[in-house]
Subunit: 352 residues, 4 copies
């Protein structure tokens, strides 16, 4: 089936992408700037015989996701920064119980109520674990409406494969902006894996499945945690990244999501002004593509981390470089997005 190019909003693309990715059930609570996700799904999910439910709160949403995921459904929620914070206990429970699911965060300015403008200030929360305990989520950062459409299927597939929550970390610009994307008229038939662990009846087994994160014996819990760490280790094979103009660059800009689009334009401006700048774009934020970044950065004069935050991803850049190459940081907060020209200036400063 040929995919038509359509002009859609990023949030709509996520919703359509979720359906295309075989999402069986959506649970959520409204918050700007992601409301187009539940709005579209509230109409489309029932049309496809799937479940859409507006929960009474974000705490409820994530626990409904837990229940549906435990029952073997491809379950999903979507929110924006403050709403995601309310889900932290639930996310830790999902990770602890090894339940696959998809959580979309269309980040807005914080902390607190903050603003409804775009931001990337929830990187730590998504990547380092905003909930308690040693756990990790798969974190994917789209940079275009097209990726907003294709990433849900990828996230569901990875989540199922690793039995682990996956997060799509978008932001208010990506959610609200429109651009053409190849989106087929009808969602594809999705080949979903068997889930013999699902709590959907005995199905002839002698035992019943249980979805649980309580492991009261410390040694058993240690074994469980080691199993989880083993999964996180294995996830390193899934690292996803992109480079642009990087090969001959003297200065390497590291940026993800919408910031990477600004950065790519800025690199081109810098090159016009005689500075060989290139882009390294992490696509998977966890697992973070540290080795590819090291290899790409090798021999460069400097690395510049650029984020819409006070400085979060830069820690993973520094950890990857480990002192081998100097790392600078440029960030903007509160919903302010610098122009490519402004960033190009920062690149040229950094290049000095």
């Amino acid at each position: 089936m040929q995919a038509k190019r359509r002009l859609v909003k990023g949030n709509e693309a996520i919703a359509l992408g979720a359906i295309a990715g075989g999402c069986d059930a959506f649970f959520g609570y409204p918050i700007t700037p992601q409301n187009e996700v539940p709005e579209l799904l509230s109409a489309e999910m029932p049309r496809h015989g799937r479940v859409f439910l507006q929960a009474e709160s974000e705490v409820a949403s994530i626990n409904m996701v837990y229940g549906a995921a435990a029952a073997g459904m491809r379950a999903m929620t979507s929110s924006s920064s403050p709403g995601i914070s309310l889900m932290m206990e639930g996310v830790s429970y999902l990770a602890g119980a090894e339940l696959p699911c998809l959580i979309v965060n269309v980040m807005r300015g914080g902390p607190g109520l903050g603003s409804i403008s775009p931001s990337q200030a929830d990187y730590f929360q998504a990547v380092k674990g905003g909930g308690h305990g040693d756990y990790r989520c798969i974190v994917l950062a789209p940079w275009s409406v097209q990726e907003m459409y294709t990433f849900p299927a990828m996230a569901f597939e990875m989540a199922d494969r690793y039995r682990n929550p996956a997060i799509i970390l978008a932001d208010g610009v990506l959610g609200q902006m429109m651009e053409p994307a190849a989106i087929p008229d009808d969602p594809p038939v999705v080949d979903k894996p068997d889930k013999p662990w699902a709590t959907n009846g005995r199905n002839g087994r002698a035992h019943k499945n249980v979805a649980n994160s309580l492991v009261i014996d410390p040694y058993e819990l240690r074994d469980h945690c080691l199993k989880l760490q083993g999964k996180y280790e294995k996830m390193q094979e899934e690292c996803k990244w992109d480079t642009r103009l990087a090969e001959d660059a003297d200065i390497l800009v590291v940026a993800y999501g919408i910031a990477a689009r600004v950065a790519f334009s800025a690199c081109k401006i810098a090159r016009q002004k005689g500075i060989k700048a290139g882009l390294f774009r992490p696509i998977s934020l966890f697992p973070y593509p540290s080795k590819p970044l090291q290899e790409t950065a090798e021999g460069k004069r400097r690395v510049l981390a650029f984020e819409l935050s006070g400085g979060q991803m830069v820690e993973d850049v520094r950890l990857a470089m480990n002192g081998a190459i100097p790392v600078s940081f440029y960030g903007e907060m509160g919903g302010v997005i610098p122009s490519p020209a402004e960033l190009a200036d920062r690149i040229m400063e950094a290049a000095q």
Copy 2:
């Protein structure tokens, strides 16, 4: 007034320390292994004319803390890992609205329900920001019952001075263990700062105070975030740390809280076996004592980060070292605590 030495549990010491620190109001919801904190406060707070309230949930608790803190009270909550995760939205709101308060986390094994055994796996959450947006909490890590008693006053004082939430990051061992501590019979008279920003009536002013974290204009929010970042920068002056046997050490163990006690014993064992090991103990986890650690580590052969987690604080150790000295990691998860002898073996391995 002379402080008597008394044999008390760590959780009781925190409760007594909160009263000694001038805590006006406590809000919380029960969870093991911190229940002695609310239990003691439920009896003692009313006796001192202060407020104790068991809230209907942790989400309620942290929002009640928000309200009381906004009104100028020294407000506090206490919980353990899953309960703390439920507070993440509220903590971000408190930080965004610049409200001082004290949050105690007596960490247990995670992720999810996990176990009720001790753990240090909430370091990322406390230090990097488990909630959304660019914010930081002051984080203090006691290692003895005595510090469980003295840290609440210190935390309240710092919180008030910076108008910022403070966290005491303890764990199930520290909470449950008994040891003698110097605790006066009667709480001292506390000299609390004026809070002209508090929402406790106009008090003759033309305007009314508002406690708010909503800053809808991106440029205003940027300015607000820059102000917050300025505070976090200034907090670097508050770094607290301790060293033991560090001066002549070849290998430096970095550990906090209960892990540091194990590490100190392990260093002594290692020295008996001919390995000059020393301890660097971060006491403030935010601000992290990176410079003191760099200075202490200078000239050592190796740094070994030891935590009761899968590897969290080690990132701050690596960031501090920035490749200058090799960093090893040893962690245990799930509530398992290695013996000093086991850790000494790891020190000796690392020393090879």
Copy 3:
């Protein structure tokens, strides 16, 4: 289509009857002794492409019923006494907003948590209005498993016709007992009325529909209340009742639901002992069949109201008699059900 006779539980019959009555959506929260209702519906409703949702509480359930009813659905909830009490605000809202729905109360012993044994002690609540304000619900009282099956359709039809909540007032015996009932294999095709007032989109109208019970102007609210009272007046045409052995009786027992079954047996025993006893069974409790009762009672020596309560329906019997014929009362509380012989003794006492 021929209806097969099947041996089913009363609660199952209600569930099957709800489906047969065209129930589009069920919302509820578990409570004994009605759990077979949601249990069966949780499996059957999705199979028929309808909605089953276990809400987070009874307060939530009734408000979900409000939402679904407003949208034109045949919406339903089911609970037992304490759970029904939690719905009182919602029921008043439904009545105020003129929304049709079905509420099933499988009464248990009260007050408070009481017991899980059968009872008829919620008569006042159902018939006089447990919620606030001048409103009435249609109240139907089945006395057999067969009526448990047929009444939901009747209740939905009346609810729709009057745009008013309807209650089926059953009890723990009727819910738990099994007897044969004629129940077709497949639910019939239900002819549902148009609901041009439903909030299901503009559908070409200039205005949007609103489901609301707020009428802030007192004179408008008076008009609204008068309209409601007019409906309740008109409902008098719907009175339903049954009589057995009544024509030549000297003493008339008035009883509804399971109590009427005991009463019918007791009348037969009394007749064997020479006392001409007969039964008047109100089927609609609101509208209460006062006139038919007056007419039936005319010329009798005495009326005996028998209820599984401390004396509730007896007030409507006394109001109907208005002193014309002496009224006695016999009730049992707490889940105790007298045998027909015990009741026959009371009938004979009353006949003296």
Copy 4:
């Protein structure tokens, strides 16, 4: 101590009366037209070393009342019609567990959200039992600001004596109107009864007290219900009522609360027009003064029940008359209050 006459609002009088009546703890949630009650108590209760707590909902409020009442406190809540409906489960639990408390309902127009204008349409709910099960609340209906002040103490005293919830049934006029009332500057010292049943510690007993409404065995629950019925029977001794111009009256108006004030004026107007009208004012609505009403009505030509409702108390009037004297009804709904002249016209019609 001499009581000064002060000009206060009815709601303020209730709050001051609660303090005067020894109220230890207030729990509530805001709703018009009773907000002055919690507003005043929020300031005054702490000043007297008592508890004021704004709960997160009315469901929470009544359950907090349950907890405090169980612990032997004089506990209270206040709300208006929709908020009271949310408490129906809790009220039944309080009655079932035999816990004394005070519930104030400042009635507004219903059903549903209705209006914020005065009403008497919650009579059935208060008097017949809006919650489930066979229980009764003591119900007192003030008709002046003075009674708003004196009734809380009376209600607390009766509640304690009978171990039963008490309701003050006021309305929006009484709550909002100002008139002079004798209110002492300082609340009196209240002599509270011992509560050996309270769950406030063993206090040297071998057993611990339990506050419970669960009685799972039907025969035990029957005994418990019979004990409750015995109390309700005994409460008949507490009947309170007032008469004005009743002795020589031909027509007797029965009205309570604010309606009785309108009725008293109307009686005087009717008398000026040659109709001998008199007033019977029930003050306790449960126990309803049926016998005093019968005695007062004896020999009258007609009884006219007047209420701000569609017809609720009139049922108790009819039950009291039992056909002996004709009973008419006049009611207004929705917040509309007829003038004394309008009511006088109705009296004169009824007198024909």
